[in-house]
Amino acid sequence: MLNLIYHFQTSQNQDEEFKPASYHVVYFFDDQGFIDRSMLQELSKSVPNADHQALTFLNLDDLKDFALRVSQELNAPDVQLISVQDYNIGLDGAKDLASFQSIFQKYGEKIINEAAQKKKGLFGKLFS
């Protein structure tokens, strides 16, 4: 299962420069570990108008397109997006490993990778 934790940053003036609101990738991981950052930077190039180095996107749709692109590359059936705010709410309520693991199911927004779903054989569909 792929998971992406992102941070929404409101527009601000930084170093006398206007910075528009943005969605920044904080952690991107599956149950094997964190996805290699250089690979993420490369895949983010499929989304125009993003800061590929910093993994920052201008709107949520762009972030979702990027997440889907990563799931396609890794042939993952879906990817769950969760904002830092929701992750924190989940953390506040969690008490142990089991409740921590359920944060992503509980608060995440799932995006289906149709291509991987189609590739599933009969057994895959039966047991999914």
Partner: protein
């Protein structure tokens, strides 16, 4: 009883490692039997779960109400059984304690890292400990009240054990991050008050860098406030401050540890060796039995065990002369240079990682005590001019006069210190040899002592800086077996003096190899006519055979082996 035998059983939540005793995790009726599980020679470290003793925000119970808080009885049991012990008082949020140690009435705002994520840590029992902000004013009030009450309790109970302050951090993305680093609302409000107090006419923080610097200074000041409060309140018992890196405590590690596979042995081993090189003390108290196994368990027992603990907390010192007991062995010490990353920028750490991997250590400060000077006499010491003040510079010159080898990067050295160096050379009638190769290098010799200065600034942009270090180390003539092995094989050296049967050797060196991967690894050791292979010790999933050049080792997954070499002068 060997010091290398670790008496703590992995997976025991009451004795989670490093001789710590979590008194609040077991019934007071079981304290005695649990204490007896420590080896008699081991110092028992008792972390104070200060929130556990809170009856209210300012009322503290040391056993009057609850038997599990009766630390007087606990100390009586330890004394009755002749055990040495000391307290560990957290000066930051402590990842192994619920709420980070903060009493419930003061635990109001969770700590937040720079990415906006709340700090929460999985402990050894897979419970999630949430860290609460130390910038919340109620936390400091409560802490100060606890320190006062605890100090009075120690004085009235006539308990003489020392109290160590502990500042906890986690390791993430190549950096040590203090649990004090916080971007919660409590921090931001405190920072705002701090700015107003220091700049009543307003502060222009349009520059991100300036804001970051001020936030760092504010954090340091609050950290210092907790330290000085504890130090003042517990003065007769104060042992000092230990900075402790908690393995598995970072926000990314919490996520990683929640996976079925968890964080790998290889990744933990890499972290552990990084902490070793950076001379950072660790705690493995958060790791589960499943995590603390194989290579990790062996490395912790053999290199972070009771002998090293006794050394770290100044209960014992190895002494100047080599004895028949093995001790950690390294050849180089780097001092300071961390903020500017000068040693990395000079290509020195890359060179050391290639040729003297895990044989060097980085220190924040020069510990100028007679014991330290003696034990580390033979190590080559590197300093960065920018870090030096008058006192430190004087200490460096003294080390040189004592026959030690000093290398100083002159970049950023204050002109007054440069003048002082010239006067020192004149006064002692010392001749300086100059060499111009990639940069200007000056060498002064006095008996065994070497004082080498170089202009690091010129080296920074030099593409062939590795060649400079090759020349320097050829001049320094360090004799060490050469190891040819994968990056994922780990080794640490130890050294001892010779026994009466080994008179032909100068000393005996032991190298421990660990393979935390799931692949077979081959290691080749070239002895270069200075070392004779003596024996192999405790091979686990490993074998070694002599070759004309030295020794070849085969390490299976999770294998380990130690090899002893006699060091001799070439005829």
């Amino acid at each position: 009883m060997s010091y290398l035998e670790d008496s703590s059983k992995n997976g025991d939540p009451v004795r989670p490692g490093e001789q710590w005793f979590f008194y609040w995790k077991t019934s007071a009726a079981l304290w005695e039997s649990r204490i007896l599980q420590f080896q008699p020679h081991e110092v028992v470290f008792i972390p104070l779960y200060w929130g556990f003793h809170a009856e209210s925000a300012t009322e503290w119970d040391f056993g009057r109400i609850q038997p599990e808080r009766d630390i007087l009885r606990l100390t009586q049991l330890l004394t009755h059984h002749g055990r040495k012990f000391c307290w560990i008082l957290p000066l930051t949020p402590a990842p192994f304690l619920p709420n980070g140690g903060v009493p419930v009435p003061a635990a109001r705002v969770m700590s937040v890292n720079t990415e906006g994520v709340h700090l929460a840590v999985l402990d050894q029992e897979q419970k999630l400990n949430k860290m609460y902000s130390f910038f919340e004013p109620k936390v400091f009030q409560s802490f100060a009240s606890f320190v006062k009450a605890f100090g009075s309790f120690l004085a009235s109970s006539k308990i003489k054990a020392s109290v160590w302050g502990a500042q906890f951090s986690y390791y993430q993305d190549g950096k040590n991050i203090s649990f004090m680093e916080d971007r919660s609302l409590a921090f931001e409000q405190g920072f705002s008050r701090y700015l107003k107090k220091n700049n009543p006419n307003g502060n222009d923080l349009t520059e991100t860098k300036r804001e970051a610097q001020l936030k760092e200074t504010f954090t340091e000041e609050v950290l210092s406030l907790f330290k000085t409060t504890a130090e003042a309140g517990l003065a007769p018992f104060w042992g000092g401050v230990q900075k402790i890196v908690a393995l598995g405590a970072g926000p990314k590690e919490t996520i990683e540890r929640s996976f079925d596979g968890g964080k790998s042995q290889l990744e933990y081993t890499k972290d552990l060796f990084n902490h070793y090189v950076n001379h950072q003390w660790i705690t493995s108290a958060l790791l589960t039995q499943k995590e603390k196994k194989d290579s990790l368990e062996r490395i912790l027992g053999e290199h972070f065990g009771s002998r090293e603990i006794a050394e770290r907390y100044n209960y014992e010192s190895y002494g100047a002369e080599l004895t028949e007991e093995f001790r950690p062995f390294g050849v180089i010490s780097l001092f300071g240079g961390r903020v500017s990353e000068q040693f990395q920028r000079l290509g020195l750490t890359a060179f050391l990682d290639k040729h003297f991997r895990w044989l060097y250590q980085r220190h924040e400060e020069l510990e100028f005590t007679p014991e330290w000077i003696d034990v580390h006499h033979d190590k080559i010491k590197f300093f960065h001019g920018r870090d030096l003040d008058r006192t430190k510079f004087g200490q460096i010159l003294k080390l040189f006069l004592m026959g030690q080898r000093i290398l100083l990067d002159l970049e950023g050295l204050h002109p007054d210190l440069d003048k002082r160096l010239q006067i020192f050379l004149l006064e002692n009638n010392l001749k300086m040899q100059s060499v111009n190769y990639l940069t200007t290098t000056n060498i002064v010799e006095l008996g065994e002592g070497r004082f080498i200065t170089f202009e690091g600034e010129k080296l920074l942009s030099e593409p062939q800086k590795e060649k400079f270090w090759q020349h320097i180390f050829r001049y320094l003539n360090l004799v060490q077996p050469e190891l040819q092995m994968d990056d994922d094989v780990f080794s640490l050296w130890r050294i001892r003096g010779t026994t009466p049967h080994e008179l032909s050797y100068l000393d005996v060196r032991r190298v421990n190899f660990y393979n935390p991967t799931s692949y077979k690894k081959i290691i080749s050791i070239k002895t270069h006519k200075h070392f004779a292979f003596m024996r192999m010790i405790d091979p686990i999933k490993a074998q070694a055979k002599s070759t004309p050049d030295g020794v070849d080792v085969e390490l299976l997954p999770n294998g380990k082996i130690a090899l002893d070499f006699g060091h001799y002068e070439e005829a």
